[in-house]
Amino acid sequence: MKPAGTDKIMLPFGADSGRPTAVEVPVGSVVQRTYWENVWRRVTRDPFTVACALVLMAIAAAALLAPWLGLPEPTLTDSARRLLPVGSPGHILGTDELGRDMLSRIIHGGRLSLMMGIVPVLIALMIGGSAGLIAGFVGGRVNMLIMRVTDVFYAFPSILLAVAIAGALGAGIGNALLAITIVFIPPITRVTESVTTQVRSMDFVEAARASGAGTLAIIRTHVLGNVLGPIFVYATVLISVSIVISAGLSFIGLGASPPAAEWGLMLNTLRESIFLAPLNAILPGFMIFITSMCFNLISDGLRSAMDVRL
């Protein structure tokens, strides 16, 4: 094999002139990359996506390590030092309406807020993903049944359904998680089903079947590989939605309850203080906004890297 490089070859009809033209073509050991290697290369070369991933990692790392960062207790109240402005000595981001350190509460708040944004999507991914795979792959009556039930849940606006379920079950983190999970199962089922149905009718699946591959083997090697990309992109969008909705539930008193540190709940309790300390009141919502936007931008980056259309 020749060393990698380029070589000149003559084409009888050039693309521009229609006359014989010399063009450069790559020759020799061309690097072979798998699909996922290509996706990884494209994602890591996209500065926006990388920046968002770094911001998210920083928020997540701070949240995970919160108890060991030497911050004041997030629930430690101090009635003498209430609503200190942002930039006060000892309290960089000020204090809240009960004199609790805002920086500590925002970092600790990330634990609950991120968890409540991500966990429902993961659970819904497992349940909705399986339901969609089954519906798409089996087809027929099973598909009918699963997709009609999905249609019914689709008939509710997502926030209304989340509020209705959480409201019926009563306040609490567990109930809020359950409510948001139920909200996300139908859309995931629908996307998985539509992608699976498309893949199932492709020639290579037919070929695999003709050469004697079993159903499970086909699903594992052919269907899953093609379905995972779009589903993954979709799931990152849903996480950004989930963070906003779950914080919204806490905001109206249906999720986390005081004195827990959670961004939506903090936004709610600080709402009374917008006259005295507007900047402090804005901060928790700003965190929800940034986190949600990062997930959205990452999803955009993944979408173009994988060339997915949803």
């Binding site: 008939a155 509710f156 926030i159 209304l160 209705a164 019926a168 507007p278 936007m293 997930f295």
Partner: protein, 313 residues
């Protein structure tokens, strides 16, 4: 086309029944019956009498039939908290939600569609970059936070707008009433505006790459005429997204209405949840969900009108 529409209309019936089942089942997810949560510790005999008078002593399937039957005739029972008929309360609240929802939809759709189309048409230009960044921010922003931001800037700092309520103006055409609506409408319009802009932009970009546009250019049509053709082709998709967003606006206004204490369905729902006022809760969710279903139906029909290929597909 007619048969397609008929089929689509008939299909909403099982969906609507499914929706009513879900709404009914929802409130029975919680342990205990609706009354015990409100009444607390009372005489057992009195509780049993109350139960019988509200019909909560019957088996669930029977309760469902009775509830659905009376709901269909406009009788949704009485509020456990105020004793007022649920239907009347609901209609008043729905009218208030409809006012800010429609205003927000108009505002968001016009701005979103215009800028989305321009961005798609001038792909890569500075306008496109600004619109793209704004839409990403718009779809990610928690609208309840945006509402608080607006209150802080325009009510607290500048003092231009009232921070809450619907005001006491007699007519919704007065400035007094408008003043109360502006902030909630902007907060509600942000997300639909961003989503419509995003869709319009993607749609226009895709259509511009189609061969018929090339053919139009070759025939020497002016850019304005071409843009008109592009807009016509983008219409079905953008229309569908608008319909869905309008429905989401009305159903999802609960958080914004809570911030502004705007007396609409969302605020009513919020009160009903914390008072455990089951008849109001059920009625509000049912009304909003059925409304959502019917908007989806209208959107589908409008879509077949805008793009006849759908009904033949």
């Amino acid at each position: 086309m007619f048969y397609y529409i008929l089929r689509r209309v008939l299909y909403t019936i099982p969906i609507a029944i499914g929706v009513s089942l879900v709404v009914f089942a929802l409130v029975h997810l919680a342990p205990g019956d609706p009354l015990s949560a409100v009444m607390g510790e009372v005489d057992q005999k009195m509780l049993a009498e109350m139960r019988a008078s509200f019909g909560y002593d019957k088996p669930l399937p029977v309760q469902y039939i009775i509830w659905l039957g009376s709901a269909l005739t406009g009788d949704m029972g009485y509020s456990l908290r105020t004793g007022a008929p649920v239907f009347g309360t609901l209609i008043d609240a729905a009218a208030n939600t409809m006012i800010i929802g429609t205003a927000a939809a108009l505002l968001g759709f016009i701005i979103g569609a215009t800028f989305g189309m321009l961005a798609g048409y001038n792909h890569g230009a500075w306008l496109d970059k600004v619109v793209s960044s704004a839409t990403i921010a718009g779809v990610s922003v928690p609208h309840y936070w945006l509402a608080i931001l607006l209150v802080i800037v325009f009510s607290v700092q500048l003092g231009w707008m009232p921070a809450m309520g619907a005001g006491s103006a007699a007519s919704i055409l007065s400035w007094e009433a408008w003043k109360h609506m502006i902030l909630p409408v902007i907060a509600l319009a942000a997300i639909p505006c961003a989503i419509v802009a995003r869709t319009a932009r993607a749609c226009v970009m895709e259509i511009l790459s189609m061969e018929f546009v090339e053919a139009l250019r070759a025939r020497g049509l002016s850019e304005r005429r071409i843009l008109l053709h592009v807009a016509r082709n983008a219409l079905p998709t953008v229309l569908a997204v608008m319909g869905l967003q309008f429905a989401h606006l009305l159903g999802g206004s609960i958080l914004v209405e809570t911030v502004f204490t705007w007396p609409g369905t969302g605020y009513l729902l919020n009160l009903a949840i914390f008072d455990r006022d089951i008849p109001v809760l059920q009625g509000t969710i049912l009304l909003l969900a059925l409304f959502f279903v019917s908007i989806n139906l209208v959107v589908d029909i409008l879509q077949t009108w805008a793009d006849p290929r759908i009904s033949r597909g």
